[in-house]
């Protein structure tokens, strides 16, 4: 088993009827158990990149693809999207749009029914997954009556029951209130830390990303313009400004102070780091 679970080589993708590619020569590898965050302005290609990880790009889109995407050794163009379901789970940005069943139980069971898992096993997997996403006891509830955060956790649970190795989340919190956002980030962290699931998350909430991610890539105009740990990526303030990404506020503060001539030991990217940095300034 290689360390890499996702390997993207020279990926270029252009949607039909557009005049430039959404992705241009992307090379990216994601290690097993990694928590990778993808950040960038609207139109940078983040969603296209995320959707290429289980074959939705190219199979469910109209366009031209070059290069290849290997997930757990398997080329995404070799089979339809449904065959990737047991390896990669996908969560999208609108919680409600992903739900179609009349009970939480049915929604969780949907994927398992499709692959023919026996009923007793289904029940066990579902109970486990509901516990992980914090929805134990919600089996008979109607998905439409849940809060946004609960709905999104249900969507995560519905992907989890398939026992995927990777969970890709495309702007999962953009339609949620602060409590909902917290719930989703918490579950993603738990999945990564306690269950060793590889997380690929597209997000604008850089302050959260800075505390959870192992690695951050910044995208702009279809390319990856920066890649590295949160500290390395977010402290490159000028590059970020050029691309249109704001670093965490504490980083902006530290960087602003540095520009004014103050000496700092490090440029922090999280609140804790910032507190440590400035505590002895009195």
């Amino acid at each position: 088993m290689t360390a890499e679970i996702i390997s993207i080589e020279g990926l270029t993708y252009q949607y039909a009827l557009t005049d430039k590619p959404a992705l241009l020569d992307i090379n990216l590898s994601v290690d097993r158990g990694e928590y990778l965050a993808i950040v960038g302005p609207c139109g940078a290609g983040k969603t296209t990149l995320a959707l290429s990880m289980n074959g939705i790009v190219p199979h469910m889109m109209m366009g031209e693809m070059r290069g290849r995407v290997l997930v757990d050794g398997r080329d995404t163009t070799q089979g339809p999207v449904r065959e990737m379901a047991r390896t990669v789970g996908m969560v999208f940005d609108n919680p409600e749009f992903q739900l179609s069943q009349s009970s939480v139980l049915s929604e969780m069971a949907l994927g398992l029914e499709n692959i023919g898992v026996p009923r007793e096993d289904m029940l066990q997997r579902i109970t486990e997954a509901l516990e992980i996403v914090g929805l134990s006891g919600f089996e008979e509830r109607s998905p439409m009556a849940l809060s946004g955060g609960q709905q999104q956790r249900l969507a995560i649970g519905a992907a989890l029951v398939m026992y995927p190795q990777v969970l890709v989340l495309d702007e999962p919190t953009s339609n949620l209130d602060p409590i909902g956002k917290e719930e989703v980030f918490s579950v993603a962290a738990r999945l990564n830390e306690e269950h060793e699931i590889t997380i690929v998350i597209v997000e604008h909430e850089v302050e959260v990303v800075a505390s959870y991610a192992d690695r951050v890539i910044i995208m702009d105009g279809g390319s990856i313009v920066s890649s590295g740990g949160p500290s390395a990526v977010f402290t490159d303030v000028d590059n970020l400004r050029r691309v249109g990404v704001r670093p965490p506020q504490v980083t902006e503060i530290a960087s602003g102070l540095a520009k004014r001539g103050c000496t700092l030991t490090t440029i922090p990217v999280t609140l804790d780091e910032a507190e440590a940095e400035f505590s002895d300034w009195a």
Partner: protein, 297 residues
């Protein structure tokens, strides 16, 4: 959520005998009811059948939900009587009974109007019984066992889930456009209200299809089911009884169709016919005005 919407199309949880009955016999009854209802125009039979269905709805404990649908759609469908009375969908010759301004009310018209109304509602009562007492997943599992393809099944069940959602979105869009000084009626209101509904629904369905594909939707091969519907003797008996009554009943109704044709016999005196038609028209218009005003506060 659903109870704020005009037309509830949802399952009402409960523990009545009807709830515990297997979906297949209920399906048979619903289909059989429609077949029986459309085998005759006899108002007495249809009225009895209508009330029988209503009785079952009451016994199942789902009257409150169903009552809301009835309260809205029944007055509106009274318009059928009005229109049929003056222009019957019935073979000529027509017997005129009374004049109402420029219109002539025909005997066959009233008969025809009432029979169409009662036929539809007799059938709908049993369909409502089916939908309101059967969990959607169970219903679709039953259909699948009867040979309906899984994907078609799913499309229908997902679409039904969408109905309250599209209703809700429509109301939001109306509010949004009224906030831009759009008057809620008239031709100018059509496109601004409907385009966003379509666009939103398309967006939703696109994301849903990606989510489903990511959960192996469309896989070939054997599919399992989370819901466990047990079949018992009462289910087989109900199903067989349903089929038997439908076949026997239909045969009887058609054999005796001449005797049951009361179109000449159920002769309403002029004053009663006029009252009925005017009454139906007033109720119909009144209901429409009520809803128009509610939408335009």
């Amino acid at each position: 959520m659903a109870h704020h919407l005009p037309i509830p199309v949802t399952f009402v949880p409960g523990n009545s005998w009807f709830h515990r009955l297997h979906p297949t016999p209920k399906l048979i009854w619903a289909v059989g009811a429609l077949v029986l209802a459309f085998s005759t125009r006899n108002p007495l039979f249809l009225a009895c059948f209508f009330f029988l269905g209503l009785l079952f709805v009451i016994l199942a404990g789902v009257l409150t939900t169903y009552g809301r649908v009835l309260a809205i759609l029944l007055p509106i469908s009274l318009s059928l009587i009005v229109f049929q009375a003056i222009a019957p969908a019935f073979p000529q010759p027509w017997i005129p009974i009374a004049r109402l301004g420029p219109f002539t009310i025909y005997q066959e018209g009233i008969y025809s109007g009432m029979s169409i109304l009662l036929r539809s509602w007799a059938g709908v009562n049993f369909a409502a019984l089916l939908v309101l007492t059967t969990h959607p997943s169970d219903l679709f599992t039953a259909l699948q066992k009867l040979g309906v393809p899984h994907e078609l099944n799913f499309m229908v069940s997902a679409s039904i889930q969408l109905v309250p959602i599209v209703q809700r979105e429509f109301l939001i869009i109306l509010s949004a456009q009224r906030s831009r000084a759009m008057q809620a009626t008239g031709f100018g209101a059509a496109i601004p209200s409907i385009v966003p509904v379509f666009a939103g629904t398309i967006d939703r369905v696109q994301q849903l299809s990606m989510s489903l594909a990511s959960r192996a939707f469309g896989s070939k091969g054997h599919k399992t089911n989370i819901r466990d519907i047990k079949v018992s003797t009462k289910d087989y008996v109900s199903g067989i009884v349903g089929v038997a009554i439908t076949i026997a009943g239909t045969w009887l109704l058609i054999s005796y169709s001449e005797q049951l044709d009361w179109s000449e016999i159920a002769f309403l005196p002029g004053w009663l016919s006029v009252t009925m038609v005017v009454g139906a028209a007033v109720t119909f218009i009144g209901t429409m005005i009520y809803f128009w005003r509610k939408a335009n506060v």
